[in-house]
Symmetry: C2
Subunit: 344 residues, 2 copies
Amino acid sequence: MKFSKTPGPRNLITDVTGLLVGNAQDTDLKSGVTVLICNQHTMTASCGVLGGAPGTRETDLLQPEKSVSRIDAIVLSGGSAYGLDACSGVTAGLHKMGRGYTIGSTSVPIVPGAILFDLLNGGHKNWNINPYSKLGRQALKTASTHFELGSMGAGAGALTATLKGGLGSASLVLDEAMTVGALAAVNSVGTVTTPGERHFWAAPFEIGDEFGGLGPDPRTELGYNFTTKKVHSENERCNTTIAVVATDASMSKAQAKHVATVAHAGIARAILPSHMPSDGDIVFCVSTHPSQASASNDSLHAIVHGTTLCLSRAIARAIYCAQPHPTDLLPTWNIQNPKKFKHP
Amino acid sequence: MKFSKTPGPRNLITDVTGLLVGNAQDTDLKSGVTVLICNQHTMTASCGVLGGAPGTRETDLLQPEKSVSRIDAIVLSGGSAYGLDACSGVTAGLHKMGRGYTIGSTSVPIVPGAILFDLLNGGHKNWNINPYSKLGRQALKTASTHFELGSMGAGAGALTATLKGGLGSASLVLDEAMTVGALAAVNSVGTVTTPGERHFWAAPFEIGDEFGGLGPDPRTELGYNFTTKKVHSENERCNTTIAVVATDASMSKAQAKHVATVAHAGIARAILPSHMPSDGDIVFCVSTHPSQASASNDSLHAIVHGTTLCLSRAIARAIYCAQPHPTDLLPTWNIQNPKKFKHP
């Protein structure tokens, strides 16, 4: 298995041929929506759910034995179960654009999605009309190969155990014909940095200084006596990392299921602890290739490992890029004065 | 969530109340069997399969919706599909001991198991009678709270990408009432040490010098241009990490399923790449507690994280303890002269 360590030109999931990402967020609400579409084709897709407390929509049809073979978009949203309405907004927007699975004289966009819990992050929450459908439509309108990381989209109000969370992305060019990438909204029970330090768990996999370049923590015996999120003592269920991994190589839906499931290794290496009973950790996998021909064994090995590395890097970049907000409950990683930096 | 960083007195899975482990191996065959039983009770158990190429027996009954609530033993074996016969030997041995699920005047031991592929490791392989049933019976006879690590049992003929594999174990005392542990036979596609170095991927989690004390590799950009196992160029499918995680705390079968599934994070953090399409990576989770009462939310969080840490450490210890054999295709980690140490 040969590998480069070269990110694509944007170091974003949109380096994968055809992918566009749109974000919309409400800074008062401290929540938002991220949507991923392919500019030309529908996508082959599946998903793997390993967290104990998932919130999802249209994930049954992603199972390999189900008939639906291609999807139109994937939505990542804040807002807990309310955020699932973001899929409705994206579905309506795609319909207006003439996208969707054609059946007779009508068409139905297929829009799986997953949410994270950001309701208790200090944002304004007294809405009368569920805002997520509108945020979904807005996110779709901004879909582009360029998008910002950090406190954007589904990561706008995200928190980890010790630091502000966010939206992250990364890519890797495996060879001329194959790029992989990852997109993650990080709101985990666990930490993304080592205890009392700013070293990312994902540091061994960092390319250049894409998330600060501090390198790995040299200590051992890490991971014991650690901190998990307890923003509100009565409610620790404010969690979940939701992610997409992608490639422009051809793969079958069953292969996408394998990649989505095992790409959770990228979460495991970047967040400690990961996959807690109160995380709803889910990874979607998409292929933008127009055919659904199976990947070769060699390609599949490379895609599995490449997407997994991208996901770890995307998670670290989410936290690295987060921007402070006056009502934040936790500090951002990239504060002005590192000497002031204190977290448990 | 509070945590100690204290292993149990043996730093083995048998620090979990009631557990016994037995090994049997054939040094010519370069293969063997490991069996885990509880000295008094049956066990609550489930499993999670994340690898692409599993070899298993009696794993359907471990799914939470299936009726069988307790099991008698778990078998880890070399021998690829032939090794599944080890379960037959253990089943026969348990029957002789009067163990098993009683139905009228008979009883049936419930013995799930999983195998790894060690057929092309240089061992003698021209047997006429499948040897694994006998190895299973022998392993059961040796079951004890004390057992050796390294080239023992199911790890006897194991190989990783660059170093000899083996059988490993580790434990962690979470509090007076709760110990967790892990047992792993490591035969992975991927590496357990960083490229060209002896630093274990699992080093951040090492307690004391339980696997050499070298600490983490200080480099970044690791994981690219790496080596995967290619013992025989025509056949890379010589793989799989099979493991058990355990606790003496009470848990439901559904909770055991969650723990087994997400404890794969322990594989992800100790092996790179992990969960390849040609790995059959599987983790069993057992509770030795006589009741099947659900664990509290706090306990479950601690068990998930604790077992995951133990599994990473058990994987590193497997390779650290492996012993050389004249027909080995790969070096052991712990060679006499580190200057001679060379691997890709």
